[in-house]
Every structure is written in structure tokens, then in C-alpha cells.
Symmetry: C2
Subunit: 479 residues, 2 copies
């Protein structure tokens, strides 16, 4: 958007004012109507970004608090303090605490070390380097909810330096290897991001926004089980798709040499790396068996965060300096609180009633489900950030789905995953995109082509194999 | 403390383990007993400080979460998620958001500008400079809950440079002016800190820890009304007390010259300073009339924080870099959550029952009140941080006071204030202490002498004039 900051602000401020000038629709309490205006302005704010997400959310929370206290009868529905509820949300804290693990992989160099070992073991063709990228990303993904840190901070620098080492230059010889490798880095992360609840920050956000509307929860291990079959299938195909769209001119790779140099630079493995590897395994163990251990995923993540500090893998100062974590704490806590007060004020119930009178898919619930997933992937490319998309669209899709009778479990799962792969199309559809694209190897046309194939191919796989798999799991009471 | 980190950790870890080895006392649920062990270890951790406060609190929250999930029958009393409740507490958020105003005064230079104007207007003797310090601190205090930022970041640098300009050198001529001025800086801030709810971070913390036990709340304006008479009286006396204990050899001051140079260095007043001054007035207005405006103090503070960012007085990046704010968010949220789960698990009720069988002040409730205040001031000097003292002692004093029948309102008010002036004695009794003492002008003997006079003199004033004033306010239903 090339609007000036002033114009952006004017638009954002105008939204709730214009909405407030209309009287609330019948059946909706005035406070819900005003809060809806704030929420809409917030989402437009997240898209136009006159300020960063945390500032926009804090503004929204502040104004909502002032409104709730001043609308007659509002406090019977919702309290001023509810605006801050998102800051005690286990979702917010899961993401915030797991950011420590993301940065630990970057800070200690363990991520790079694993990458070079993988390159040595299996990277002797360009195509296989694509698979190295995929396995590496998948391996790290359960403990790196900052997919920007995972892809942009660990995988991108390595694969970029590999491309350079192969003699592929962004200006003169992008097609030699770099174009393929970079495109693949992005397409892969958009798929690993939905395999685990903790593989991308907006996952937990989407789940916590949908759960009150659709009444369906997924814990860490069930999330993985649901994602495994369609997700791993897509993952296996992605390096091939990229290879087909952007075939690298160079086929053979001197992987031994690249790995040797890289590992030499890293030096011998440190205590911190070993300790991190062990904590990573404990975290996985804790998330997988969180039910049996009576410890929820957030507490597991918090324990691992604290252990990282006590074992000196990262310092508290490192955490203070990790701006991404604090930004996420503030903005996720804010948006979860905002959506919570909107819900308490009766907005989503009212919206469902209204939509129920308009929409009708009587007897075609499954068609409605597929239409919703198709729409979700189609509109996803309008959003530069998965978080903004989730805040804006997920509650709407969930409400519509509920109204038209789409099966709650299938809709929840389908939407949770489409948020990630739906972002594949564009080179700006998430944090890692601009980084990989910014290396300069890629052209928009081949990127968007591959992205469209990945996004709509994934949709196809999810709507066929995915739906069958989820139905199977639901029928067996596994999830 | 000169214990090694390892020894500190060993002590802290041993506490909850030893407690858990004993079976819970009759009438106390096992989960409350284990949580008490964690709470005690937390407080010892806050005192020994093997890590910063946030790390200690996050560890406590993590372990508490794991314990609550794993003690049979615990979840009937308290939920795992309750450990995070402190992060939605309006107390935590009031302090966190008001930190922005503290740093805005430092960043924009407005604090310094006001100081130089005051020096010009009334600082033509050393004694009057002591009063300049006092008025300046009092003026800034309502909007600077970081009293370290207020005293250490604004007042200390100015008064220190004034001492240097007066030719008072820490090595050769400390008694010329510096010794008096520095001592006065500290004694003053320990008193302004209890005049306003928002004048020191632990104020709101102490209030939120006592309220569930004693059932008495104080809003922003009532806090000020209660503190005004004894507090302002103490404030007026403090520069005289310091003057008496450490008489400066230099009496006359060329204040015009100092102010001229200082203001010259600052240059003309900027837009940011003007905007901050207006926001400061709006904040005061909001806090004073928060009842009539239906906006609680936290929302006022959040609105001002957001306005500071939008008007570019401070940037979000400044806030991200302000480590003190984030540290406070994490550790206050943590300790409020910890105290909350202890309360929910029935610990304070049980403690009150046990103490009720032991203690007896039958018919002497007012004596009990005065004894408690005396004890509170006496033990305060053991604690380097007001926050640690509050977390450790305030719930205990409140419980004891309740048991022995001390009047809840008077006890609450008395303890809220003694937390601040009780820290006057030592040069380490709060953030600003080491800064002012560290300038090198002072000796421990005269500092502690003045500190003891201020602490116990304040106690005397509070137990006489203070109690009468509070009784008067309560009888008239003003607070």
C-alpha cells in the first residue's frame, strides 16, 4: 500500500466512527456494535500497518476498555478487565515461551550444525538439497513457532550460502541453482508450518479464535496426527513441484566440500548445543505426552524456556533483546482479548443468527465445507501476514461454517491448515517470504506459479485425502 | 550476600523439596502446601538473586503449573491456567504501561527542563536546592512508577551535576554540598514514592496482594488523599532532617548560572516535550476523575502509553528497549499469579486459622496495628528491593493483622506506606539508593542516621497524625 501514514490513520479512525454513527442492528447490544467497529478498524490497521501490530492492538485494547466502561448496561455482558484476558491466555504464552527455543537454535548454531550434517549425508544433487531443506525444516518446526526465525534465521542463510558456493549468482546465474533452492525454502516452510501446533505462531491463535465458535479443541499430538497424512504427502511433493517449475541447471553438488567448510567454521559442538538438543527432545516428549503427564503444552514450553536460561543456553538478556517474542506477546494477547470481548458481548452469536437467515446450504454441509476452504485459500493471498489473516477471516469463516452446518471438526482442521499453505502463493505471504525472495534469485512469475500449484494442490489433497483421513480419525475417536 | 550462584541455587531448590518431604499440616490441601514451598523458594530467590526477578518468577510459575496438574484433587481448588492470571491483572498493566511515561520524561528531556526552571526559581541556597529536589520529585512522581527512572534517571544526574558545579568533589570536598544533596535525593524519593499509587511500582503490587486478604481497596485518588497529610508533612521535614544530619559547608548557590547553562544545553523546548506535558496533565486528570469517567486507572495509563507512541514522543522501539518495563511485566505478573494460586488453594485462610490460635490481641486491636507497622519498618531494611519485601512480608502482615483484629482499612493504608519510607534506612533499600550513594559523596554512618530518622520519624507521624487522618476519612466515608 502506498498510502501515507496520515491517510492510513484517517481510514482506521473513520471506521469505528462511521459504524458508531449507525444505530446497532436489532438484536445486538450497542457495546458489541462499537466493539465490532474497533475490531474492524484493528484488522484494517493490521493490514495497512501505520504502526506495528503491538501498537495497533494496545490502542484497540485501550479504546475498548474505555468504551466498555461507558456504554450503559455493557458491564452485564463484558467487563473492562476482559480486554486484558488475552495476556493470561495459554495460547499467548505458548507462543511467547516457545520463541525462546526458536532463538536458541539460531544463537547456539545448532540449527546450522544439523543442516550441514544433513547436507553431507544426502545433499549430493540439487534436487536432494531441496529435500535436505524439507527435512531440516520439518525437524526444527515443532520447536520453532517463529517460522521466520526457523526459515529466515537458520535455513535461509545456509541454503543461500550453498547457492553461492555452487556458483549460482542472483544477477548472472540465478537459474543455476539459487532460484530453485530459494523458492523451495519458502514453499517448504509454508507446509511444515501446519504440521505442528507449535510450528507457526498463528496456529495457536487460529485455534483459540475458532474454539469458542465451533466448540472443537485440538491438543498438540492430535494436531500432528491430523496434519500428518496430507501434510507429509504435500511436503514430499513440494521439492518436486519446485524442481518442475524452476529446474536448476546444475544437477550434481559437491556436498562433502560444502559441509566440511560449514562445520569447520562452526567448530566443535558446544555444551550449549548439546543441552539444547536434549531440551528439544524433552520438549517434544512433553508435548506428545502432555495428557499423560498432566502438564499442558504451555507449561511444557515455559519449563523449557526457563531451563534454557538456567543452563545458560540463552540469557534473559537475549530474551529481552528478542523483539519478536515481545511483539508477539503483546499483539496476540491483544487480539485474543479483543476477540474475547466481542464474543462475550454477543457479537458472534448475533452474526451467526443473521447469516443463518441469509445463507442456506441445507443438506449440502460438505459442499459448504469445501467452498469455505476454497474461499479461505483464495483470500489468503490478500494478506501479508498469517496473523492478520487469522484475526480477520478465521472468526468469520468459523461463524459462516457453523451457520451452514459444516462439520465443526473438519472445518476447524481444514481452516487451521489452509491458513499456512494458503500463504504459499505470494512472495510476501508471511515472514520468511520476503527473506527468501530478497536473496534476488527469483522472479515473481515462477514463484507465484509454484506458489499457486502448492496452495491449490494442497487444497486438493486436503479436500480429498485429508478429509478422508480426518473422518477416519473422528470416527475412531482418535481426535 | 557472597554466596556462589551454585550455593544460592542449592538453597532455593532445597526449600520446596524439604517442605514437600513433610506431610501437609492438618486442614491444608497438599497442593497448597507444595505451592507454599514454591512461594517461599521464590521469595528466597528474589533475595539471593541467582537470576533476575523475571527468571525466578517464570520458574516458579512453570513449576507451580506442573504441580497443580499433578496433585490429586488440586484442580477442584485451583486451575493450571490460574498461574498465568497475574498477566491479565490490571495492577501488572498499570505499572507496565506507566513505565512508558517514566521513560518519556527521561528521553524527551522534559524532566531536566523542569528541574532547571525550578533551580532558577528557588535554588539560591543549598537548603533550597534540597527543596527543589523535593518539589521536582513530587511533581514527577504521579506518572513515574519507576522511581529508579525518576530519581536515578532524572533527578540524580541534575543534582549530581549541580554538586559538581558547586565545586563539591566526592573525594576532596564531599561535605561542601554533595553529601547533603545526595542523601536528600534518596530520602525524598522514599517519601514521594508512597504519595501516589503510581509513584512506585510496588505500591500497586502491595495493594493487589493485600486486597483479597483484608478486603479493602483504594483507588488512585483515595490513595492520594490518605497519603497527603502525613506524606506531605514528612516531605517538608526531610530536607531539614538531612540538613541537620549532614550540614553542607556551602550555603549560597549561584543558581542562575547553573540553570542558564543547563537550559542552554537542552536548547529550545521541543514538540515532544510540550506534548508530553499535556499528556501528563491528561493522565493526572484521568486518574483523579477515573470514577466519574468510568475509566479505570489502567486504561487511563494504557491510553497515555498509546498516545505517547502515536505522537512519536517515544517509539515502540524505545519501549521494546526499555528492559525495566518488560522485567516488571513478567515478574509482577508472575508474583501476582503465584500469590493468587496460593490464595485459591486455601493457604492464607489456613494461615489465618493457625495464627488465630496462637496470637491474641483481644481488645487491643490498635496496639496490634502499631506493633505490625513497627515490625514492618524494622524488617524492611533486610530487603534490598521493595518488590521482594512486598512479595515476602505484605501477605504475612495482612494475615496476621486480620487475625488479631487490626482495623483492615488502617492496616492496609499503614502497610502500603511503610513499604516505601521503611526503605529509607539503608543505601541499598531500593533502586535509587545505590545510584545516589554511588556518586561517592556519602558515608554509611550519616546516611543510615538520616535514614533511620526518616524511617522511624515517618512511622511516628503515620502512627499519630496519619492514623487520626485516616480515621477521620473513614468516618466521613471519604475513603
Amino acid at each position: 500500500m502506498s498510502l501515507s501514514k496520515f491517510h492510513k490513520l484517517a481510514i482506521i479512525v473513520a471506521i469505528p466512527i462511521i459504524i458508531a454513527l449507525f444505530s446497532p442492528p436489532t438484536g445486538l447490544h450497542p457495546v458489541a456494535w462499537y466493539l465490532f467497529g474497533i475490531y474492524l478498524a484493528t484488522i484494517v490497521g493490521l493490514i495497512l500497518k501505520p504502526y506495528g501490530e503491538p501498537v495497533i492492538l494496545l490502542t484497540a485494547v485501550a479504546i475498548s476498555g474505555a468504551i466498555i466502561g461507558n456504554v450503559e448496561g455493557a458491564t452485564a455482558l463484558v467487563k473492562v478487565g476482559n480486554t486484558l484476558d488475552g495476556y493470561k491466555s495459554s495460547t499467548t504464552w505458548l507462543i511467547f515461551t516457545a520463541f525462546t527455543l526458536s532463538s536458541a537454535f539460531v544463537i547456539t548454531g545448532l540449527g546450522k550444525r544439523i543442516a550441514y550434517h544433513m547436507i553431507r549425508a544426502m545433499g549430493h544433487t540439487t534436487l536432494r538439497l531441496g529435500y535436505v531443506t524439507m527435512f531440516l525444516d520439518l525437524l526444527l518446526s515443532p520447536a520453532t513457532p517463529s517460522n521466520t526465525a526457523r526459515s529466515g534465521g537458520i535455513i535461509f542463510p545456509i541454503i543461500n550460502s550453498v547457492a553461492v558456493a555452487l556458483g549460482s549468482d542472483p544477477e548472472t546465474s540465478p537459474k543455476k541453482a539459487g532460484r530453485y533452492l530459494m523458492m523451495n525454502v519458502y514453499m517448504v516452510v509454508k507446509t511444515t508450518s501446519y504440521i505442528f501446533l507449535t510450528a507457526m505462531a498463528p496456529n495457536a491463535l487460529a485455534l483459540s479464535l475458532m474454539a469458542p465458535i465451533l466448540g472443537f479443541e485440538l491438543n498438540w499430538i492430535n494436531w500432528f496426527i491430523a496434519a500428518s497424512v496430507p501434510g507429509l504427502l504435500c511436503l514430499i511433493l513440494i521439492p518436486l513441484v519446485c524442481y518442475f517449475v524452476s529446474p536448476p541447471e546444475m544437477k550434481k553438488v559437491n556436498n562433502e566440500e560444502i559441509a566440511r567448510k560449514g562445520l569447520e567454521q562452526l567448530g566443535p559442538i558446544s555444551f550449549k548445543e548439546k543441552a539444547l538438543a536434549i531440551l528439544f527432545i524433552i520438549a517434544l516428549f512433553g508435548w506428545i505426552f502432555s495428557g499423560a503427564l498432566h502438564i499442558n503444552a504451555t507449561i511444557v514450553s515455559l519449563i523449557i524456556m526457563v531451563a534454557c536460561i538456567i543452563l545458560n543456553i540463552v540469557s534473559w538478556d537475549d530474551i529481552l533483546k528478542g523483539k519478536a517474542g515481545w511483539n508477539t506477546l503483546i499483539w496476540y494477547g491483544g487480539i485474543i482479548g479483543m476477540s474475547g470481548v466481542l464474543d462475550k458481548a454477543g457479537f458472534f452469536k448475533w452474526l451467526a443468527d443473521v447469516l443463518g437467515n441469509v445463507l442456506s446450504f441445507e443438506g449440502h454441509a460438505n459442499i459448504a465445507l469445501i467452498v469455505l476452504l476454497l474461499v479461505s485459500v483464495s483470500v489468503r493471498y490478500l494478506f501479508a501476514s498469517g496473523g492478520a489473516y487469522v484475526a480477520a477471516m478465521v472468526p468469520v469463516f468459523a461463524t459462516v461454517g457453523k451457520v451452514v452446518g459444516a462439520p465443526a471438526e473438519l472445518l476447524t482442521i481444514g481452516l487451521l491448515f489452509s491458513n499456512a499453505y494458503g500463504g504459499s502463493v505470494t512472495h510476501y505471504g508471511g515472514g520468511p517470504g520476503p527473506i527468501a525472495f530478497g536473496a534476488g534469485y527469483n522472479d515473481i512469475k515462477s514463484w507465484w506459479t509454484a506458489g499457486a500449484i502448492v496452495a491449490f494442490g494442497s487444497l486438493l489433497i486436503h479436500c480429498t485425502i485429508g478429509l478422508s483421513w480426518w473422518n477416519f480419525l473422528i470416527n475412531l475417536n482418535i481426535i
